[in-house]
Amino acid sequence: MMNLIENFLLNTIRSGTPIMFALIGDLIGQRAGHISLSVEGAMLTGCCVGFAACYYTDNLLLAVLLAALAGAFVGFLQIHFNISCGADMFALALAINYFCSAVTNYFGASLISKSISGFGRIAIPLLSEIPLIGDAIFNQDILTYISYLLPIVVGFILFKTKIGTAIRTAGEVHQVAVAYGYNVRLLKYGAVMTAGILAAVGGVQLSCAYTMTWTADMAGGRGFIASALVILCSWKPGRAYMAAYLFGAAQSLQILFQLLAIPIPTNIVTMAPYVVTLIALAFISMNKNPSMPEELKKIGRPLEIQN
């Protein structure tokens, strides 16, 4: 039983981490008034670029940097074509995802049979000795540790710093941001490109730490989910822990249920996270003071930014 719980925690965290990165990334983007479903494509690109860099150079830092660069490019496509060319942000994101999928599929084909050493697990002394949770939480790879801090850091930046206020203002009433002298265009570009970067780093975690594998389309909808989960944490970074690990838990429960022979059809178990997200969304939406950025309510109309 102990083993079971320990493993449940481990799998929850490992499968929740890529989602955490993309979720926090898109949260920043959504705070700036822009939903990027293309975090799916950014994550996939990150998986591929990170894996390739890992394989050819064996330099983990380089892998993360190159993946981040690729993610930033995906984010740039998303925001540039949306703001400057007036493309519908969801349709555009679909096209970007097709593009990322096709390109990584094509150029990543030769990497499928390759093996890498990737990110090793680093046990934190003392903390990793804690019974039950120690090994699952404090014996992880470096990217997972970063993901633990990510919501706190991003929360701090968004709510306690000047730049955070600027981003949030740009996402609420951009005219106000303009009036304050902020460069709204630049803020939005930055926020959405950050979303791409973080999602790509999540992709690196997925391909170089969690599975040590590159396969075609391996992101498998994780980015889409992350994007939807942003609402589940009602745009508050602190709640990302709950949202990301809820999804991770559902993933690992699906396996555990089968191992314990609990007779629930597999497809019903895998449906659960989506239904839970939907229900949680309902509760959050009934909140009298939802923290939804104002600009998000205007989705579907072309953005007009006057600077």
Partner: protein, 350 residues
Amino acid sequence: MMQKMTVKAGADRPEIRKVLMRVLAGIFVPIGLFSIFLLTQRQNPLTVYRALVMCFAGSKYNVGEIAVEMTPVLLAGMAALIPAKVGLSNCGGEGQLIAGCLTANIVGVYLCSGLPGVVGIPIMLAAAAAAGLLWAAIPLFCKMKLNMNETLTTLLSNYIMYKLVAYMVFGPIKDTAGNNYPMSARIAEQLRLPAFAGTRANVMIFAALFVVVITAFVFAKTELGFKLRTIGGNERAAEFAGFSVKKARCWAFLIAGAIAGLGGGIVMSSVEFQMREATAHDLGYLGFLATGIAGGSPIVSIFTSFLLSALSVCGTSLEITTGLRSSASTILMSVILLTIFGLGRGRREK
């Protein structure tokens, strides 16, 4: 804006030149980019483009295939476009279309198997439309009563529909007379829409075009369309003018769901005949994309749907004849899409 208008009247010539430039860019940028890609892959671009064009220039069957693909894409496109006109966004065409497909199969197999086609097919299609409507009603309810963002609820509902179909074909509707593979039973022969000779296309492509033209007509020429556009353009103004915003939005959304569901029903009775886990996947998203690049115009979405369907059909024949990977034709499609987005509405607001 004002400045531009005054300039425009006296400057038709530069305007035309600009349009022409953009047309040329729209053609040559993707072709050029893809040619570079092909050259790096040691393929002769001319052979590849010839294969692409020969695909539908030389074959009646392939033209039919484009029509087959285009029918649900058009309808799913309308499912995204109509709510967008009244200020709602429906990303759930995919799920609504599959709901229609699933329902048409269940109705076809369990209720209509003994009925003649003239009765059975309309019942199936009506059931499919109803299913799409009901599947759209869930996010609509969430929007109207619980104030939930419809973009995300519809997106989530697509995933739930995928899983629901998987559950159904592995369990309740699995064909017991078959070989225990996860497929439903097939609908009876007489419930399948008769195809034009030598193709798989049928009369439903015209039905889909008709739906699009009606939509365009309603929005462009009727008072109802004016009201709806006002609602989509400025909610306050519409309320001020005494339009019932909520009611209009509800109906628009439900009708959108029904149209997508109808698309699913058509897919079932035209080509699929049985339900599998991946049946009709991606058609809804392609429709969404088609209206996305059409910039919200129903008529333009006919062209964009044609473009996407043709690329998908001809991509297959490209792959067969040149030996390129399947991802290569997706690269071509996405480069074209991104180019169109990039040229898109341009900076006309500036």
